[in-house]
Symmetry: C2
Subunit: 421 residues, 2 copies
Amino acid sequence: MSKLPNILVAQSGGPTTVINSSVCGVIQTAINSGKIGKVYGAVNGILGVLKEDLFDISSESPKEIDALRRTPAAAIGSCRYKLKSDGNSADYERIIEVFKAHGIHYFFYAGGNDSMDTADKINKLAASSGYDLVCMGVPKTIDNDLACTDHCPGYGSVAKYVATCAMEAGRDTDALYTTDTCTILEVMGRNAGWIAAASGLASREAQDAPHLIYMPEVAFSIDKLVSDVKDVHSQYKKVFIVAGEGLKNDKNEYITADAGGFGKDSFGHSQLGGVAEILKDIIEREVGIKARFNKLGTNQRCAMHFASLTDVNEAYLCGQKAVEHALAGENGKMVTLVRSPGDVYECTTSLAALSDVANGEKILPADFINAQGNHITDKMRDYVRPLVQGQAPVVIGDDGLPVFARLERKLIEKVLPEYKF
Amino acid sequence: MSKLPNILVAQSGGPTTVINSSVCGVIQTAINSGKIGKVYGAVNGILGVLKEDLFDISSESPKEIDALRRTPAAAIGSCRYKLKSDGNSADYERIIEVFKAHGIHYFFYAGGNDSMDTADKINKLAASSGYDLVCMGVPKTIDNDLACTDHCPGYGSVAKYVATCAMEAGRDTDALYTTDTCTILEVMGRNAGWIAAASGLASREAQDAPHLIYMPEVAFSIDKLVSDVKDVHSQYKKVFIVAGEGLKNDKNEYITADAGGFGKDSFGHSQLGGVAEILKDIIEREVGIKARFNKLGTNQRCAMHFASLTDVNEAYLCGQKAVEHALAGENGKMVTLVRSPGDVYECTTSLAALSDVANGEKILPADFINAQGNHITDKMRDYVRPLVQGQAPVVIGDDGLPVFARLERKLIEKVLPEYKF
């Protein structure tokens, strides 16, 4: 076994188009540094650590590792498992035990604020128990709601895709408005309207879709919806709406929540869906025009075929910088993206404490939303425009479809007893 | 007014990614022929003819006309209006009257079998009333269900997009299967499973999505679904399903139909939706795994950002050939696509009688569907693979998003009394 410290990289939560690009940045930078032993991946995030389901990424084909830059979703697997806490530190102790057993002294966790919280707690337990461990966060979320960073890797690509889908489906509505008068495009965003807002970039002229954008930051009202739709319909004969899945009423309750047995994930987040159906019903009943809806679902967060090159590159940079800073002695930090002042877009990186990211949430600023609460302002356009720039390379196979990385993920031998959880 | 005959081009039914490419082929070929006067467009298809809402496409900017090749949906407008028939020929007489009033002697109609029926009837009325008119059909439908042609312009692009979406969202399911175990991708296809079947191209290896494909050609059964899902789940721990919107039970009834006031279009077709929800409910209840769904909706038929170049070019060719044949004396025909025999894909065109197309419908051949009725065979793969080849050019603006054609569509002066319908 190498005497150099090993590192472990894991992914958590909902995948994105570019999280693999961040992981690629971690792996390639670590390998090239000459300062680390093996790069382990944990299958399905922290679950894989608990189960000791690890594989040696550094022994995978360098070509496949590089192909991670153009592979959507989470190639080493993700999860939504919430570690036990509140006085029970068994999960955290198990993690340290697994790290110890495999000589892992660097942990890189790509995820959102729940993941940064996890990384922070692991870090603190390691410190208090005298285990030499560096924990670094790599930002990831299509929701763009992480504190301390100008924007999040994953957002630029979903922004580009959703805006393009609104533009394209808007043309469809324009063609068929005499029967299919209203189209609703439901997009993700549980608490923040960043994704819905990005679609506003598609409306270059007033008559262009989307005509109405509903974001969770603005309390949803049936009366307002009906009045908005009537206005747009009388002006343009057609109505194209983008709605965030997390719309809430004036009591801050989701206007819909899945009532079934799978209604909440293990973090207690409600599993949303159905906003589009609710809007469709209201519009057909109260306005008397036919409405239909498109729900892109997970396809919006993995549309590698039309990803933002800016996003892919920044995601890689975040992974790279996390390793560079860790090897230079930083610990307990997440890499952040910093937008330089001025008209020309430039983005550099900085660091924020994991705990600061864990406890924050960034919703749309009030001045990014128009006065009527149903569209965006030029400030939002200026914010998002640079993030959607450039087309990430797509490698096409003989069958005409994209080719993504295939990792072998051959599990290493387990050395610890099985962990019950 | 020019003494040369004018032509009219119109689009009908659900838009596609490439119908504008066909229209571009009609316009450019007509203009370049030197044998026609003006090229009129009818705003919103045959509705625009009835209303005398016509505009002179040939006076639009040549640059914008050319940009139609990379513009999705129907730039001159479409409709779902069914002409009155059954003893009442008022609509048809009005159409001839409008054609006469504007010196229109060539009518090019891009659409599906309903449109070919319409064009055929207009043609026959013109002949019986002694009006000199040539009616030609240009095939268009994402459903790929037109008779007499190997495939239909519009299908290759939706096939490429849906297969890619299945591949990408399949990676997402692969990453998060420990909580989000099953994903259902609902795709279009009222009576034919061509679109759902195309997604099968994404499964290069057995563990790849989609694991199960449900097509309207196979009677849907809850027991079979549950058994299929359990099998796939036990084998791969995750389940990715593609389902056509038009699934029917063993009594040939749609398993869902919108019960609202907008449940049928004017051709009497049920407006479908909800197949994915039904499957999700069954799977969560009967298999006990969490399921989610993506419904691409109209976005699948206008995804110009990832269109098949083969499809775009063949669509143009159909428009071009329709004009060439019309000017050479053909009448009452639709251009068809003919696949040359042999291993190397080559496609030429031929002609079919409008009435033959109007009365036909082409569903998936039995040997394109596997014995279990839940996936495709290599015959289907061989059929669809050539159709998805090549990336159609995408022009990107300063804002990072696609730029599509903008036609002015300035209406010409009406010369007839208003028509009540």
